[in-house]
Amino acid sequence: MKKKKPISENAAFAGFLASVGAIVLGLIFGYIMLIVFNPAFANVGIIKILSTGFSTKEKLAKVLYQAAPLMMTGLSVGFAMKTGLFNIGGSGQYLVGAFFALICGVVLKLPWYICLFASMLGGCFWGVFPGLFKSLFNVNEVITAIMFNWIGLFLVNLTLTNIPSALANFYGAATADRTANITAANPTALIPKVWLDKLFNSPYMNISFFIAAIIAVVIYIIIDKTVFGYELKACGFNQKASLYAGINAKRNVVFSMMIAGALSGIGGGIYYLCGTAQYSIIKVLPAMGFNGIPVALLASSNPLGIILSSLFISYIQVGGEALQPEYAKEIIDIIIACIIYLSALSVLMNEFITKMLKAKKEKKDNAALRQSAGASLEAVNAPKEEEK
């Protein structure tokens, strides 16, 4: 059927428009914040937010560098959301993924692709728990994920501090509170830069963004084109109906959380295998895991949209760093919060618009039906007139 295309395109397009609207309003709100907190620099500030990402090659490299892990955690949240699950456990999965990658890279001295694969397994492993708890014991996945974020953090910290060869001081650095610099410990574990670092003139630049983008396309194909995706979405939309159709919904919940976890895990691996950041042993959950949520929401969980939304979020974050010292860079988080809030409402706007369209259509259909049923309706009216 040829008719199919325009409808789905319309829905996606409406969603895109709603997201753009949310972004514009969010930025306006951010501008107001700039005026409130430091009126003298407000105009300079908003221009910095909007233009820094493109200002130099180095900044653009930073945008791409940050977008890759964001895209992964965004895909993680988005994938789970398509199956009707809310994955707030991105932080824990990201951490465990990073941990697996670092052990493989720093301690076991394995090459980067094996490290990345290990990070996927690590995230996958941590995603099993919310899935299993939900399908076996009917415990809400949000609560399990929150608990396992913390358990993951403590266990990773505990294990890392007890593996001396993983830490920076083992390779001659002064501090023991972070993992070793991969460049010093095992350069083969670094994600290849090909010639990109020279092109962009930035140490941040490597192929990680492209790896993430390819994964996004793969996820898109899985969700929209495969039997597995059909089953997963069926579970997400209506679990009872999926059981009725013979789909093993419980197993799919676990699978879905495992894949979501794997995606977050790759995010952790991709970030730390770049060589520019070392994992420092802290007591705070990494923000990257939570930042996947706005990335996914902004794209209505569409994997291809997530490529764009992660770029956007990364772009304004780079812009936000340029705001200091006149403003705290957290002003960007305020803008993002505002965009999430508005996008929560825009889902509604979409529904409203679709409903309006439907109502119009139904009216037409009904009119046609009535004409055909006209004869019988006349018969209905007859006795009533007699009574009068």
Binding site: I88, F133, F137
Partner: protein, 330 residues
Amino acid sequence: MRIAADLLGSTILFGVPLLLVALGGMFAERSGVINLALEGIMIIGALAGCLFLRSANLGGWGVNSPQTAMFIAIIIAGVIGAVFSLLLSFAAINLKANQTIGGTALNQFAPAFAVVLTWAIQGQGQTSITIPTWVRITQANFGFAQSASPGFFENLIFKSFYLTTPIAFILLIASYVILYKTKLGLRLRSCGEHPQAAASVGISVYKMRYIGTTISGFLGGIGGLAFTVAAGSGFQSTVAGYGFLALAVMIFGNWKPLSIFGASMFFAFFKVISSYSGSIPFLPKFENITNSSYIYQCIPYVVTMLVLIFTSKRSQAPLAEGQPYDKGQR
């Protein structure tokens, strides 16, 4: 005995914010709204309360009437938390938006806003607000001096005694009474279980849900301040995941005030044990392991998961929680 007093005192100290916030979560969910924004509400409440304490300190009058200042700070924390929660209510109740997403937005907003504001007020880079030392209630407040060698009760009560603690207990009792003994409580609960039934007898579901979420914001805000004074290192624009923990405590406590009290103390106890693990004689020391306190820090989370496994089957979650109420739909 000294250590027992310390353990118990700290348990209450850290249990109080959990208790307050979990009670807050309970009021929201009993009215039918899932309040995932508690973390953010805590931060905003603590921010407001701490800013007030700071100005009272700078103004010089705080030190003269410390508990009055603290009381006002508590009220401010609660009120600002309640106001902040209106953002969630509006999205969740009027606009029927996804409550999880709305809550996430508020959680994202709160710490960022706190950093930006404290930065703007205190100058660049200064993002932590110091809490004046006079907020702690000491023996002097009751007109006697600290003993040379304080006994069990003196240690238990005065080592870390803040006005938030007695107020939390009053609020616990008040929560129980409101929920079960008043018209408001009856109506609120009916909206969380069967909003259509409530509407059919003329109860405004929207109003009840607004009330539930606003109470939730009020308690959450106070809980944020209680957390900050308990943490002891000033306001750092974070509440270290306590808002989320409180949700687990609420589920653990089966949406009932007294059980929530038990659950929050249970949770706090394990939290406290992890930081005292080195000085408690009967606990294993894991001598070959560096930073073994991480093991103890895991315990409350692991225990919660185990408890949830056994309780989820007979969970008494409000039936209509998280479901937007549509006036037209019946």
